[in-house]
Symmetry: C2
Subunit: 197 residues, 2 copies
DNA sequence: GGAATCACTTGACAAAAGGCAAGAAATACT
DNA sequence: AGTATTTCTTGCCTTTTGTCAAGTGATTCC
């Protein structure tokens, strides 16, 4: 038994599933069982540019980010992933195309992953898995829309305060420049905003 | 035969489906056949606040918008829908909760709709429908992410120019104030931007 | 442990965008 | 046609944010 398997206590994933979709507990446990444990060290990558993503990950603990390179070669952090959430790059994973983005662990991360082929097989064979898959897509889609709505028509200060209340872990572990590009402001502006608060 | 059925030529929907997901033509035609024709007049609503949405709509022709009321009672246009796209309010439709948003026709619109129960039944019984349903969720999710990315880290001018090239119909038919709130700027600012171009 | 790099802060100025209010232009409504 | 309403534009001034550049502090790495 490896160290990874030793700490393999999947209750958190089962609970997450039951929280997202109304299915019997045994179905949730069956879904959980089809995932594989994975661990990432600080700064390690789950996905890099030009690779076709094959990871659909339940993040049990830790903090991650997805970013890409802008026109001037600067990193733009698109989103942060916090524990007890699903992590994937939808375009590359579902459309089977090379990724334009990087997914990176900010802190040490643990979780459970499943490949595209595995996920797809379950999706077609198991009604509960299908409901789970759709529920995740719907949940993340809604989160993306909310983010849109929360960014537009708000000042940088309001956006930062909102992040502070919704994902305080990020402020604690992510460097200022990640947060600044996520909020769409320069490092200087964010630094000044912080001083005023 | 009513006027609505007379003009019922569903090829555009079948082509749309075939464009979105790789399934046999007969399966696409079967999906198409499960939709019902619908027409909306200028300014008519497909969805209003506090109602549980029951429309998953393929917009064949016309222009629509989804909006909600901000804290000061002002309308905020969240998104525009152009022809040859699927229109739905994901939160209310899939989670079966009262909508916070309005969906309104900007011009006269025609299309084909299906209810939640109908969609769900097909989703579980027909593999092709399932693939179609997921492909639409993935497609719209990606579009939402792209919009996020296209809004942040860009000036109002760049955002407007981008809209101009990607959805020129909007500039033609939607009043300035809809576009301004969509871009996250005031009417005055957008008016000035236009003059400079 | 000292050089190099990285993360963050700060100052001075410039550009972008907003607030408010007045007015012009277009549209809707008898 | 003529009034009312809505839509859009414009001027003046303020606030927000960006740019550039220098400086401080922390961290990494031979």
């Amino acid at each position: 038994m490896t160290a990874l398997e030793q700490m393999d206590n999947r209750e958190s994933l089962t609970n997450f599933i039951l929280n997202v979709v109304k299915i019997p507990k045994r179905d949730a446990e069956e879904i959980t069982a089809s995932f594989h444990p994975i661990e990432l060290k600080e700064k390690e990558f789950l996905l890099k540019e030009n690779v076709v993503s094959d990871d659909y990950l339940y993040l049990e603990s830790g903090l991650m980010r997805i970013f890409l390179y802008g026109l001037d070669g600067e990193e733009i952090t698109i989103d942060f992933f916090t524990e007890n959430n699903i992590v994937f790059e939808i375009t590359s994973f579902f459309n089977r195309v090379p990724s334009e983005a990087y997914i990176q662990a900010i802190t040490t991360c643990t979780g459970y992953r499943i490949s595209y082929d595995e996920l797809n097989a379950h999706f077609h064979n198991k009604p509960a898995f299908r409901d789970f898959g759709r529920a995740i897509l719907v949940k993340e889609f809604i989160a993306s829309q909310r983010r849109n709505y929360g960014m537009i028509n708000r000042t940088a200060k309001e956006r930062y305060q909102n992040l502070l209340t919704t994902k305080p872990q990020i402020i604690q572990y992510a460097p200022l420049k990640y947060i600044a590009s996520y909020l769409g402001v320069t490092d200087s502006t964010l630094s000044r905003l912080r001083k005023k608060m």
